[in-house]
Amino acid sequence: MRQRRHARVGVVATLTAAVMAVLATAIPVTSAGAATETCGKGADTVGFIFVGPKNDYGYNQAAYDGAMALKKKFPKLKVLTAENVPENDDATRVMESMVSKGAKIIFATSYGHLDPALKVAAKHPDVCVVQQGNFIKGNVPDNAGTYFGTVYEPVYLAGIAAGKATKSNKLGYVYALPIPQTIANINAFALGAQSVNPDAKVYTVATSAWCDPSKQADAANSLISQGVDVITQHQDCTSTITKIANDKGVGVVGYHADASALAPKTWITGSQWEWAPLYGDIVKTILAGKFTGSEYNDNYRVGYKTGSNPFVQSPYGKSVTADTKALIADKLKEISTTGSPFAGPVKTQSGGTMFPAGDIPDYAAIEAANTQFVQGVVGDLPKS
């Protein structure tokens, strides 16, 4: 994801990269083998690169946990990992170094790792390179692909729990920047809440930073003093808002990770990453020599409707009633089959039509439409 670049650029990252670069140049790079029928068949080593630290309580940690799960699933597979890999040519060198150590499968897990990953893929036709969260425009090479989940689906379900929990009908959403993925999350959260509580409104605060705890504290305090009694967020680091909400008796809906331990009093639910099943299936496909031409040799997007979404619901807090849980289970079934969080009619903030009544938009249509807020969201997106 693009945001990590801003949040994680630090001296440590630079130092790590520098060391990696030295290592990479010190080790002769194996020349690209003759074009093989398919990449990664029978590979014994897989490499993972992460843009941030492996224990960030968020995005990178989830990817790292997914990589470690591969070890259990494929005991003979060697798993190489590199943290704090910047989204530039340093990433290319780190991946080259992994290839020279025998990696035939590479997972590049950050949004900005796509271009370096494609360079490595072009140089090594025998190596499968998959990238997390970005989109390959134009022709997809035989040995490359991207994959991601549909994050707004569990966020919609969490919105239902929030809509049921609120007494003031005011929900709070702290976000960083108005990128499409975030807008879709805020809208899905509002639509979920409104599906059970038509009066629910979502008050938004943008911090313009993926991890600035002071701004998060200001945002949370402002929302709470406006009477918001359930708060959620789309930030890289999530503990500040979670703890403030818990201290002030305000409900918490999490993001990225299960932070229920930080809010024992007020945790409601949330959404979190669970990459292991998808990573496992991608590796299985590659080992069998079936990558080229498979769904992963493409821009693969998986949601509740099409498979196992790597973005899942977090555990419920103790305040959530059995009725609410049952309601959410029904909705999950519905959006996994015939429904959608954005099932029409959906109105925009200014009263226009986002999706007409009866419309069940597909994933591509939803991605395209989320450039503005839906009705019931309080806040202003910067005009571009």
Binding site: G10, V11, A13, P178, S208, D212, S239
Partner: protein
Amino acid sequence: MSFSTELMTGAVLGGTPILYAALGESISERAGVINLGTEGSMLVGALAGYAITAESGNPWVGLAGAALGGALLSSVHGFFVLWRKTNQLATGLVVLFLALGLTSLFGVNYVQSTINSFQTIDVPLLSKIPVIGEVLFQQTAPVYVSYALVPLLWLFLFRSRPGLYVRAAGERAQVLTSYGRPVRLVQMLAVIGGGALAGIGGGVLSTAYTNAWFENMVQGRGFVAVAVAVFAARSPFKVMAGAYLFGGAFALSPLLQVRGVGINQFALDALPYVLVIVVLTVIGRRGTSPAPEGLQAVFEGGASE
């Protein structure tokens, strides 16, 4: 809570870490040493405060550790600037980058820790006063300590002999020398004391304000503190006003956003920094040059003496 009460409360809350750091920088600059590493001392203080609170369970112990950490880092600055005669501005930046690297490296293990943080304490009687009570007396303990620190520092600087030495070191080092006082030692102690206060500022950020540690979490507030010290003429009461002004500028954006006021978020983000420029322009126009004599050489490109 009304808009203005909320804004003022936010100004004190967000202004307090800046206040501590700017008071520290004021002492250092009074002695003739500019420390751009203040941001670094805040970072070290934020991590030390958080980590030691996590280990000890007591935020006061954490804050003491924050002071120690900030002091240690600033002593590196002091050593190079005073004994190796390096350029003050460049050294400060190097020290900041050192702190960024070290805190990222050692802080990783504390990202997931939880702490027993400072809680809001309503001062009996005083907190019941309309507006003033809400703004000033429903805060955390380190905020109350800062109320006492400001007049104490003023007394130290302007009414005590050691304070006189500090100012003399920055204004007329020869005078201090002719009195047989070691100039460099006085300057070093001022730099270390300043670093300790910046460390406390960082500790307040992590243990009383955000209850979290993340790499690079100070996010430029140390530089804001240096700016506050400069335009508040290194005078404790003016520094207090300046710190709250910036606390308010940071707090304004979310206050407007939750009320649905349609102002571009990026314009609001720029507000604190626009404020620095405006204030510096206004002060500059008055034609006063409140900087200590000893600092002028730093700005004119000479090494510190």
